[in-house]
């Protein structure tokens, strides 16, 4: 059982009348890669800033290593942050930037240089050590910013959307650099992002936030396949959500009346009762397509609206008679194997066990 490195205990943060974080309770374990994800204004950055001591909680306690941190000043903490804007000092060279924190800690000059060069080397930017920050490329700056934080040898590294300024191909590269570093160093990474692909690609656990509250915490797989509520299901994207009323519940199977038709879903015992209103979600990649009406229960006839290619994957956007939008995601070569006439109605179907009932 790994130890809790950070505990948020009933944390509340407001700026004047604006509530940024409301009643937040969660733990961060030692050595885990945790991603905090949500739309802008959801309180994810405020959460990170509270960890660094840059914002003080309005109420509640933050514990790091079992120590209450509320009154510990930012410069007395061991929580280096990699900033969205990188925040490199323009009046210092790459190496001087990396040395900055060590200098503040009173590390002696020769030692400082040795450690800074070691990290610049590790991140593959040793040759740029004497360069002005303004002469470096985005990816090189990113590495300087990482080195500047990691040279402090922290137990926990905070990252605030660090890849948002990079080109798409560099993002993928940096993702693997980050995950490798995290494994190698065995330290905790707290990674704030609005990008689902970044969070899912790197994190052990993902915290989804909405309007200052935690909407769900779980592994990327859990969040993708079993979203806790409508917000998560919609935010995680590429999900089909259907809402309706429960007509009957038999064993572990409920029948729902929705404007798009009647559907059967698997339920846990006592999860739903008759006449409840309920929503369920089917991931876009679990929907089957066919030209004729399939011989199964959960089917909808749709008309194709548009399609979107992302490399080998294709997403179809369809609409049924009642105007509900459906998304279907599949391999491009599988779609062409089906030989569908995209002008004619297409039948969507899914198995009962693919449907996941949402909490309220």
């Amino acid at each position: 059982m790994t130890k809790n490195l950070v505990v948020f205990d009933k944390i509340h943060k407001s700026f004047g009348n604006f509530v940024a974080v409301e009643e937040m309770n969660f733990d961060i374990k030692e050595g885990e890669f945790i991603a905090i994800m949500g739309p802008s204004g959801c309180g994810k950055t405020t959460t990170l800033r509270m960890l660094a001591g840059l914002d003080a909680p309005s109420s509640g306690e933050i514990l790091i290593n079992d120590q209450v941190m509320n009154d510990v000043k930012p410069h007395e903490r061991d929580t280096p942050l990699v900033w969205q804007s990188l925040a490199l000092f323009p009046f210092l060279t790459a190496r001087e930037n990396v040395e900055f924190g060590l200098k503040m800690r009173g590390v002696e000059k020769a030692e400082r240089k040795k450690r800074a060069l070691n990290w610049l080397d590790k991140l593959g930017i040793l040759e740029f050590q004497d360069r002005d920050i303004s002469t470096l490329s985005g990816g090189q700056k990113q590495r300087v910013a990482l080195a500047r934080s990691l040279v402090m040898e922290p137990k926990m590294l905070l990252l605030d959307e660090p890849l948002s300024a990079l080109d798409a191909h560099l993002v993928i590269r940096m993702q693997s650099v980050l995950t490798q570093l995290q494994k190698e160093l065995g330290i905790t990474f707290v990674y704030v992002t609005h990008s689902q692909s970044e969070a899912f690609a790197m994190a052990d656990r993902v915290v989804i936030m909405s309007k200052g509250e935690i909407a769900q915490i779980g592994s990327p797989r859990d969040i993708y396949r079993e979203p806790a509520n409508q917000f998560v299901a919609e935010f995680v994207g590429r999900n089909n959500i259907l809402s309706g009323t429960v007509e009957s519940v038999e064993h572990n199977r409920a029948k729902l009346n929705t404007p798009s038709g009647d559907f059967f879903v698997e339920v846990k015992a006592g999860q739903l009762t008759e006449r409840d209103s309920a929503s369920f979600v089917i991931s876009a990649d679990l929907v089957h397509l066919s030209a004729g009406e399939p011989d199964s229960k959960n089917t909808v006839a749709c008309q194709l609206i548009s399609e979107e290619f992302v490399g080998s994957m294709v997403t179809l956007f369809l609409e049924n008679a009642s105007g509900h939008e459906f998304k279907v995601q599949m391999q491009e070569r599988e779609l062409s194997k089906l030989e569908l006439d995209l002008a004619k109605p297409i039948w969507l179907s899914w198995s009962e066990c693919s449907a996941h009932v949402l909490g309220c």
Binding site: L54, P74, H75, A87, F89, F91, G101, M104
Partner: protein
């Protein structure tokens, strides 16, 4: 294009004329066109010219240091502690002194600084003084501050208000103590703006005639006072032109060097 014409007509033209005038001769109290170096040789050989020159450089330097130091706490508070709105109002109020004549503002110091003035009256109540402040270097400096301080506060405030706050937070995040942030981050980031503020302050003090004349009592004459004396005594306009050209050359060199330092790129080897 019109700007260039304007500059030529009203700046370059007069300056060139003044340079030319420094080579003119004065005969029978009348200026005559000539190209002689006698004025230059005369002025440069005078001990009083050089002592006045170095005195002016010295007191303008002290004035600049005083203004920069006095302005800093105010500018710091306005840039980092005050709200956007307060800062706007403060800058507006700092511009107001320029509405009234500098001469009037200088004369108002008489009431405050004279031996029977406000300051000595207050000090008198606790048994101190009276101190002589008028007709001393203190008087001159007070006058210079009247002229330069509002401008220096504005320039420093605007410079520091434009600093990216994230850089300050980043320094704090890396273990920099609150006070150390000032010289580790804020001052390096403010370099260009502060140098420009200092240059402005030096130029204004260096060329000011009112403060050393009325508040400083012109005991040790500064160059502007020397110009006045030179023109009054025997119509020596060409010699005054020599002083003026030397002053301009000094300020030009200073401003040029300072701006070069302010915007110097670090080596990128």
């Amino acid at each position: 294009m019109p700007i260039i014409v304007w500059q030529l007509a009203f700046f370059v033209g007069p300056v060139l004329f003044m340079v030319a005038m420094s080579f003119f001769l004065v005969k029978n109290y009348r200026m005559t066109e000539a190209f002689e170096f006698v004025n230059w040789a005369k002025m440069f050989s005078k001990g009083y010219f050089w002592s006045s020159y170095w005195h002016t450089v010295w007191i303008a330097t002290i004035s600049t240091l005083c203004a920069m130091c006095l302005a800093f706490p105010a500018a710091f508070a306005l840039a980092f502690k005050a709200s956007e709105n307060t800062r706007r109002w403060a800058i507006f109020f700092l511009i107001i002194p320029f509405f009234t004549s500098y001469l009037v503002r200088t004369f108002s110091w008489f009431v405050i600084l004279s031996e029977s003035g406000v300051v000595n009256a207050i000090l008198g109540t606790v048994g101190l003084g009276p101190y002589t402040m008028l007709n001393t270097h203190i008087g001159t400096l007070v006058g210079y501050m009247t002229l330069t301080l509002p401008l220096v506060v504005i320039l420093q405030t605007v410079t520091m208000a434009n600093i990216d706050r994230t850089l300050i937070e980043a320094a704090r995040n890396l273990g920099c103590k609150p006070l150390a942030v000032i010289w580790r981050v804020i001052l390096p980031l403010s370099k260009a703006g502060f140098i420009i503020a200092a240059v402005f302050c030096f130029i204004l003090s260096f060329g000011d005639f009112v403060a050393p004349f009325y508040l400083g009592g012109s005991q040790e004459p500064t160059l502007p006072i020397l110009i006045l004396d030179t023109t009054k005594s025997g119509q020596q306009w060409p010699r005054a032109a020599v002083i003026a050209v030397v002053m301009m050359a000094t300020l030009f060199t200073l401003a040029f060097t300072a701006i070069a330092i302010a915007y110097r790129k670090r080596s990128t080897s």
